[in-house]
C-alpha cells in the first residue's frame, strides 16, 4: 500500500506541454482526472497500455515518462 515504486514525470511533461491540465490529459488517455492525480502522486501504477497511451500523448518514449525504482527489491 501507499507509494508505488514506479516513478513518473507526468507533472513535468504536462508543464512543458503548455501547462496541459490533468482533465485534458485524462480525456486524451480515457481515464478519470482522479487517476491522473493518483499517478502524479505515485499512489497508482498504471497498466502497460495506459502507460503507452500517456507516452503517445506527450510524444516521448515510455522510459521518459516512467521509471522503476528497484530500491526496495533488495529487502
Amino acid at each position: 500500500m501507499g507509494k508505488s515504486r514506479v516513478r513518473n514525470n507526468i507533472r513535468k511533461l504536462r508543464f512543458f506541454r503548455d501547462e496541459m491540465t490533468q482533465q485534458q490529459l485524462a480525456d486524451r488517455v480515457g481515464v478519470t482526472r482522479q487517476t491522473i492525480i493518483a499517478m502524479e502522486q505515485e499512489k497508482y501504477s498504471p497498466s502497460l497500455e495506459l502507460a503507452f497511451r500517456i507516452a503517445l500523448v506527450f510524444d516521448v518514449p515510455l522510459g521518459e515518462v516512467f521509471s522503476y525504482d528497484p530500491e526496495d527489491d533488495s529487502n
Binding site: 500500500m1 501507499g2 507509494k3 508505488s4 480515457g30 481515464v31 478519470t32 482526472r33 482522479q34 487517476t35 493518483a38 502522486q41 505515485e42 499512489k43 497508482y44 498504471p46 497498466s47 495506459l50
Partner: protein, 150 residues
C-alpha cells in the same frame, strides 16, 4: 471526491444504517420474546428489500445532487462523468474480494452456532448480519484504497 467515491460513501452510509436497523430489531425481538421464525424471516425480507431499493435510490440521488452542486460551483451545464477506468475497476474488484472473504468468515462463524447447539434461527439471523457487515467492510476497504492508493 470523485463520483465513484461519492457512490461508495452513500452505499457505506446506507448499509451502516440498515445494519443498525437490523441489530436494533433483532435485539428488540429477543427482549420481547418474539424471536421466532415468522418475525426473523419477515425482517430478512425487509432488510433485503431495503438494501436493494436504498442502493438504487442512493445512486440516483448521488447523481442528481452531484450535478446540482457542480452546476452551482461552475455556473455551467453539469458534466458528470460516470466512466469507470482501470483504477476504478481494480479498486472495485479488490473491494469485492474483501467483501467475499469477510462474508465467507461470517458464514463459517454462523455455521459454528450449530456446533454450539444453537437453533437454526440463530444461524439465519447471523447470516444476514454478516452479509451486511461484509458489505460495510467492502465499502470501507474501497474508500481506503481510493485514499491511500496501491
Amino acid at each position: 471526491m470523485s463520483y465513484q467515491e461519492k457512490n461508495i460513501t452513500v452505499s457505506l452510509v446506507n448499509f451502516t444504517l440498515i445494519l443498525g436497523f437490523y441489530l436494533i430489531r433483532v435485539f428488540q425481538m429477543i427482549q420481547d420474546g418474539s424471536f421466532n421464525s415468522t418475525n426473523v424471516f419477515r425482517l430478512w425480507g425487509i432488510v433485503i428489500t431495503l438494501g436493494i431499493v436504498v442502493t438504487i435510490l442512493g445512486t440516483i440521488l448521488t447523481h442528481i445532487v452531484s450535478a446540482i452542486i457542480q452546476a452551482i460551483k461552475t455556473k455551467q451545464e453539469p458534466d458528470i462523468r460516470d466512466i469507470q477506468d482501470e483504477r476504478d475497476t481494480i479498486i472495485d474488484l479488490r473491494g469485492t474480494k474483501i467483501t467475499y472473504i469477510a462474508y465467507s468468515i461470517g458464514i463459517f462463524l454462523s455455521m459454528l452456532t450449530f456446533a454450539l447447539n444453537q437453533p437454526p434461527l440463530v444461524m439465519f439471523t447471523l447470516l444476514v448480519f454478516f452479509g451486511l457487515l461484509a458489505q460495510v467492510i467492502g465499502d470501507i476497504s474501497r474508500l481506503y484504497l481510493y485514499r491511500r492508493g496501491f
